[in-house]
Amino acid sequence: MIHASASRLLPALAWLLLSLSLLLAVWWLAAARIGNPVLLPGPALVATGLAELLGGRTLFDDIAASLKRVFIGFFIASALAIPLALVMAYLRPLRSLLLPIVSLLRPIPPIAWIPLAILWFGIGDRPSYFITALAAFFPIFLNAFAGGLAVEPRHIHAARFLGANRWRLIRSIYFPSALPSIWTGLRIGLGQSWMAVVTAELIAAQSGLGYMIQASRINLETSHVLVGMLLIGVLGALMTTLLGVTERFVLPWQQRQR
């Protein structure tokens, strides 16, 4: 993937097309067999649905609303989780104090927080920020924490022999040591956040792709439901790919190890 040269690019693209064709074929067969477009519309109907939606303005507004909620929630989660995780990895008492709380809260799925989110924040953007931040927080926190704990003692010793003061230790040893883990956490967190925004919008919003799916279901416009679902999949896959591409700039020393 990372060393994809021009000669390997074409087969990779061919595989992608083949894979998507397989999905389309299975879908088309299933739709033909069921024979009820309300239960499962075929690819052609969904394409028509997409064209209809592209004609209106609300689809782009919904995409923008969902993306905004994910990025704001994801940003809040990163800003809280990374410093907290690194400080907890560094300070043993704080770790002992807070780790049980994390273990207790982590298994609660974001969807279980939605009733509270609505009570606290009403309907709209703010409960979605809360839910997306919550969903991204734990993967980011746990990975950053593991990264903070994984700093090699001999790296710390070597740096101190070489004259590094505390600030240089944190900046040049602790942070880059933890960065691969932090990066993994960010990638997982973004995926979780994107899934959670749809959940939140199904219940606690009046815009966004999740809301669009819900509204289309009520109107029995199943083709629009599927357009929403496919868009969620495509956008999520794009985000993951984008993060994968940026990785080589963030973690240049890791290229050979993948």
């Binding site: 090699e152 001999r154 790296h155 010793h157 070597a158 740096a159 101190r160 022999f161 070489l162 004259g163 590094a164 003061n165 240089r168 040049s172 040893i173 880059p176 040591s177 960065l179 973690l251 240049p252 020393w253 890791q254 050979r256 190890q257």
Partner: protein, 295 residues
């Protein structure tokens, strides 16, 4: 082969090699050298040093060790696993604190790792996220030395890796990584160089080349060297004195003055004197190893 003197350590005063570091780095080095007092540094002294553990502090990893190592001396430590060789090295570097006795370098008690010493571990001690050049320049930068990059490049040239300055450590072979680690450790001109089985993870051929390289660098830089190893031949080849350590508790069992016993410089040649010394040392270690089994 070019040789050079780098950094402010007055121990380099004794290096007979001419200065080959050209340009501003070289002149800065010479200025620093002139400014320091004409005193050899890096004298290590341990007095009744022990490390005990357990609830009652009655079990000793190291017990009542006293020894003196002269500035510029190459001291190798041999012994079976668990004899406390690495513990002793960690004490000299300040990575560990003794529970009894004192460890001093040039009269100052050692409390924590400082740039007075530097260390080369067995493997994986390079900063993976930095290029080779940044690894070697780390010390000069942290210490605020002039022209850290020129110093680092000069060191890399000395270990034959100037072409790999921009590479990341993971792309280098084990032997090359250890050469970078040695270059990085020498870049700050430490008075004391701590080497914890630096060639232990290398294949025999690479190890033998690295030993020759270390012998050469050692005469250029002339730090005091604490060299922990399992390899008797390596110890006898490189060291001025060999300390054989015993177990239960970890302590110094015998000290062998290799310089006196093998005055011939070419220690690779196995004459009768070196062979008998070798079997003597092996016998001492074997005795200690058996103690562990027969306990």
């Amino acid at each position: 082969m070019p040789s050079l003197r780098i950094g402010p350590s007055p121990s380099l005063r004794n290096a007979t090699a001419p200065i080959a570091a050209n340009g501003p780095a070289g002149s800065a080095i010479r200025a620093a050298d002139r400014a320091s007092p004409p005193l050899k540094r890096g004298a290590i002294s341990l007095r009744n040093v022990g490390i005990s553990f357990g609830a009652d502090r009655r079990r000793f990893a190291l017990c009542d060790v006293s020894l003196d190592i002269a500035p510029g001396e190459f001291a190798a430590f041999l012994g079976p696993s668990g004899c406390g060789k690495t513990t002793l090295l960690n004490l000299v570097g300040g990575m560990l604190q003794p529970t009894e006795g004192t460890v001093r370098i040039d009269g100052d008690a050692v409390r924590e790792p400082t740039p007075r010493c530097n260390v080369v571990f067995q493997q994986h001690s390079l900063f993976a996220w930095m290029t080779v050049l940044d690894n070697v320049a780390f010390g000069p930068r942290a210490l605020g030395l002039a022209e850290p990059e020129s110093v680092a490049r000069a060191l890399l040239r000395l270990v034959g890796l100037e072409d790999f300055a921009a590479a990341y450590p993971a792309t280098l072979s084990g032997g090359m990584q250890q050469r970078v680690a040695i270059a990085r450790a020498l870049a700050t001109s430490p008075d004391v160089l701590l080497m914890d089985e630096p060639f232990g993870a290398l294949d025999a051929q690479t190890r033998s080349i690295m030993q020759e390289e270390l012998a050469r660098l050692r005469h250029t830089f002339a730090p005091t060297v604490i060299f922990v190893t399992h390899d008797v031949d390596e110890a006898l080849l490189l060291a001025d004195r060999v300390f054989v350590m015993g177990v239960n508790p970890g302590s110094i069992k015998a000290v062998i003055d290799v310089d006196a016993e093998l005055p011939s410089r070419n220690r690779r040649e196995h004459d009768s004197a070196s062979l008998s010394l070798r079997s003597r040392v092996l016998g001492l270690i074997r005795e200690e190893s058996l103690k562990v089994f027969n306990r």
